[in-house]
């Protein structure tokens, strides 16, 4: 059985693994249709397919220039492995998502974004080049100057252009492994958006929203804003070894939670506690990068909280001009529907790349989790229509269920992507359950 992070859908086939180009080439030739897969951290069916070419044994570091921060790795190296190597040397990931358990190949295929999107843009901004094995087994070097169209189509291309082999990243220099975090308690959506815009010069910002609060408190929540701490900002006892973090144990969720564990009441209680736990309206602390960027990584297998039936993650972005009306509308519908969303994360994006399938674009993005329950698919179709109405788009990496019409309303470059794909892979050798479902 194979499924991705949302545990829905699941299929009976299992991935094959390769550790060299020649092994990959043989596996690729043997399968009429295949899709690359990394750690399986996309949520839905993006990396599920007839055959899955798993990169996790193709995971060697190839070059690390500690002077200028250029890092070259094979595509199966995870961001967690990179952090272990680069942080002690004084470098950091230029863009990181909310989990470090994704591979380099997956980060490129999803053109991932992080808490600094409004300042630094998406992962693509820091990928200087990569090698790609295309459908016919040929290996092409892609960069902004060489095979540039294929380069941009692959960034956010969901693995449909080929298998990324090796890639080079430009890392970000850091003085310490710590973040100076500011936490703001915000009473409603309008205040939330004002605060995020006021904080637009801060490198990292993200907001957690209690999406069960109604009326005047609709959109209340917490904003986390952070900057890499300088050495002087650290407490004296940490200044001697500013780049090393103390080892920490992890919590595991060893079992699937039963269905009744998570309902509107328990989520409401959790959210109230979470919001209530923060007393001060505005507080600052020095914390290590782990809890700032990867709070949920401390709980292994947290996806099991939703039970065996799994959950759907729903992430969309709305343009700036419709964000306020759109978010109010959508949050109101969620609170009225009572579909318990454990996590709701709001983030202000900067301009996107406007290339092919890359998700981020200017405006507000909201990400929500919904456990799979009766009626949830229908409800999300209602939300799809609202997102489309406000000119938004839905993130493919999180998707397991949207319809073709929704996709085409959100992504303007679908036809250029299809044209390019027809040139390099006319038989759709690379195909996922998602690309079949969406006619990508």
């Amino acid at each position: 059985m194979t499924a991705s992070w949302g545990l829905y859908p699941s299929i009976t086939t299992t991935p094959t693994y390769f550790s060299s180009e020649s092994e990959l080439k043989a596996q690729l030739a043997a399968a009429p249709h295949a899709i690359p897969r990394g750690l399986g951290r996309s949520y839905g069916d993006s990396s599920l397919g007839e055959a899955m070419l798993c990169t996790t044994r193709y995971n060697r570091f190839l070059a690390f220039d500690t002077q200028n921060g250029h890092l070259t790795c094979e595509s199966g190296v995870s961001l967690a492995e990179m952090l272990d190597v680069i942080v002690p040397a004084g470098w950091f990931l230029p863009v990181t998502p909310g989990t470090k358990f994704v591979t380099l190949g997956g980060a490129i295929a999803s053109d991932i974004h992080g808490k600094n999107h409004h300042i630094d843009g998406a992962f693509s901004n820091f990928v200087t080049q990569f090698n790609l094995m295309t459908a016919n087994g040929q290996v092409l070097t892609c960069s902004r100057t060489e095979n540039a169209e294929l380069f941009w189509a692959t960034l956010g291309g969901m693995g449909l252009t080929g298998v990324i082999l090796q890639a080079t990243l430009q890392l970000k220099k850091i003085e310490t492994a710590y973040i100076r975090q500011r936490t703001l308690k915000v009473p409603n959506l309008a205040a939330m958006m004002d605060a995020l815009e006021t904080l637009a010069k801060v490198t990292y910002t993200v907001a957690w929203i209690d999406c069960l609060s109604r009326g005047d408190a609709l959109g209340r929540g917490l904003i986390y804003a952070g900057e890499h701490a300088t050495r002087e900002e650290l407490p004296p006892q940490l200044q001697a070894t500013p780049l090393t973090l103390p080892a920490k144990s992890k919590i595991n969720i060893p079992l699937f939670f039963p269905k009744f564990a998570l309902n509107t009441l328990s989520v409401k209680a959790f959210n109230a506690l979470y919001y209530g736990k923060v007393r001060a309206k505005d507080s600052t602390a020095i914390i290590s990068y782990e809890p700032f960027f990867y709070p949920l990584d401390a709980v292994l297998n947290w996806n099991r909280i939703y039970g065996r039936t799994g959950f759907l993650q729903y992430q969309f972005v709305l343009p700036p001009e419709t964000s306020k009306a759109g978010l109010t509308d959508i949050l109101t519908r969620i609170t009225e529907h009572g579909a318990a969303s454990f996590l709701a994360v709001l983030k202000l994006f900067g301009p996107g790349t406007d290339q092919f399938l890359s998700f981020p674009k200017a405006g507000y993005t909201l990400a929500l989790d919904f456990p799979i329950r009766d009626g949830i698919f229908e409800f999300l179709e209602v939300l799809d229509a609202r997102v489309a109405h406000y000119g938004g788009r839905i993130y493919l990496t999180k998707d397991a269920r949207m319809k073709r019409e929704t996709l085409s309303l959100g992504y303007e470059n679908l036809s250029t992507f299809a044209t390019l794909r027809a040139q390099i892979d006319p038989t759709h050798h690379f195909e996922s359950l998602q690309s079949q479902r969406l006619g990508l």
């Binding site: 060299s20 060697r60 570091f61 190839l62 070059a63 690390f64 094979e74 272990d84 190597v85």
Partner: protein, 246 residues
């Protein structure tokens, strides 16, 4: 980090050798990676250097070319203090029963090739009166079983070789350790259905090997329970054993 310490990994493309190499690299050891195709070892070399902040080199190590392999070993300066010999080829027992060529490759890879390399390295260490050898043999060498006795016979020979070598070098401050792994999930065993409860990962084996090396053990089974499994298997009377389908 002690930059003086260097370990030679013979058969460096094997999953077990690599895992053992990572254990040593984690303790600051520099590595020499010996394999048939040094160019193919390049990503492994860079990976070990970058992850562990050590120096790693590649070198030709090919049982089909013992003279070249020994010359390459002797050309390494400064000479490595230790060697992990993880050269191995499981082969196809059925094929080997009917085609001498397959049997010859199994015997040559698992025995002759290792002996050629270790003879040369042992002489170096004996001269220096310092160093160690870790030979990866197998539980398959403890008793010939119908399912893999040609491989088992080569490993039995290798176990005997290591035992004699240990005795010779013990007087010269050189330690020889015999490692007998049971089932391990590696590329060698990828096609086999292994019982999960007694099958180890290469990382578990590597931890056992490193711990045993630090304690100066002579012979280890890994995982530990294989000592007891093999004790039982060895004590089955031949009259009965020949009727079993092990």
């Amino acid at each position: 980090m002690n930059t003086q310490k260097t370990l030679y990994l013979a058969g460096a493309t094997s999953d077990m050798a690599l895992a053992i190499g990572r254990e040593f690299a984690g303790q600051g050891w520099n590595l020499i990676l010996g394999g048939r195709d040094p160019q193919a070892l390049e990503p492994i070399r860079t990976d070990l250097e970058i992850r562990h902040n050590i120096q790693a080199k590649t070198v030709l190590c090919d049982v089909a070319q013992p003279e070249k392999t020994i010359a390459a070993l002797e050309a390494i300066h400064p000479a490595p203090q230790g060697m992990v010999c993880a050269i191995g080829y499981l082969g196809d027992q059925k094929k080997a029963e009917h085609h001498w060529e397959e049997a010859a490759i199994i015997l040559h890879t698992n025995f002759n090739g290792c002996v050629a390399l270790l003879n040369a390295f042992a002489n170096q260490l004996e001269l220096n009166r310092n160093g160690f050898i870790i030979g990866i043999s197998s539980v398959a060498g403890d008793r010939g079983r119908q399912s893999n006795y040609i491989y088992g016979a080569a490993k039995a020979g290798f176990t005997a070789y290591l035992s004699g070598l240990r005795s010779r070098l013990a007087k010269k401050n050189v330690h020889v350790m015999t490692v007998k792994p049971g089932f391990v999930y590696t590329r060698m065993t990828e096609a086999m259905k292994l019982p999960a409860i007694v099958t180890a990962t290469p990382e578990q084996v590597a931890k056992d090997v490193f711990a045993a090396y630090q304690k100066g053990k002579d012979v280890i089974y890994t995982r530990w329970f294989w000592r007891w499994i093999m004790l039982i298997i060895r004590s089955i009377p031949e009259k009965l054993f020949k009727k079993l389908s092990l």
